[in-house]
Amino acid sequence: MRLSDLLRSEVVDTNGRRYGTVEDVLIVQDGPLLLPFGAAFRVDRLIVGTRRVGTRLGYNREGIRGPWVLRALFGAIERRAHEIAWDAVVEWDGRTIVVRADAA
């Protein structure tokens, strides 16, 4: 599996609601050891949305600061984006990710 497969996957929930495509993936370094590097990065959360331009700019990521005007502008564009925990994924066939109905 590749990150690019994940990034072009569409996300739907078990009730059939469509959230859009995966825009970015939060990875956390708490996996098994990959010596000498350290702990492996684990896929933790997905950003899912339908407004690619807005989410690609990254203003909805935690820790991203910027001019408030831009944050307000792109925050409005990105408000439809969802963060979905990887724990909520029920199935991924390489193209479509099915998540629990209460995931977002």
Binding site: M1, R2, L3, S4, L6, L7, R8, E23, D24, V25, L26, I27, V28, Q29, D30, G31, P32, L34, L35, P36, F37, G38, A39, A40, F41, R42, V43, D44, I47, G58, R61, E62, W86, D87
Partner: protein
Amino acid sequence: MTTGRRLWAGMRLLDRQLVSNDGVLAGCVDDLELTASDDGNDLYVTAILSGPGRLAYRVGALRLGRWLQQVHAAVAAPPRPEPSRIPFNVVADIGSHIELGCSNDEVGTASLERWARDHVVTHIPGAGIETQ
């Protein structure tokens, strides 16, 4: 290397420059290999994928990408099945670029360019390029 670091993979890793421990530019992060845990519940980043085939695959040219990967593997010296795969455990640091803990010769990402240089470009009259 610290633990517990959190990164947005698409924004902080994709397209970043790879630099080998001898200071040579060793390609870019074109994709990441994800491997499922034994119980299938988690996905871990296990390798950096770099090279024209990997980039073609990422932008949606799946068939072209696979073909370029096969060409890349065929011309790699020494022959290796996946010259464009860099195991994540050789990563030394992640910052504005990705530092690798191995030399450029140990990384197969430039195999295709080296092959073209040695077998094509140097034979063009007036190329004036010395092979390393």
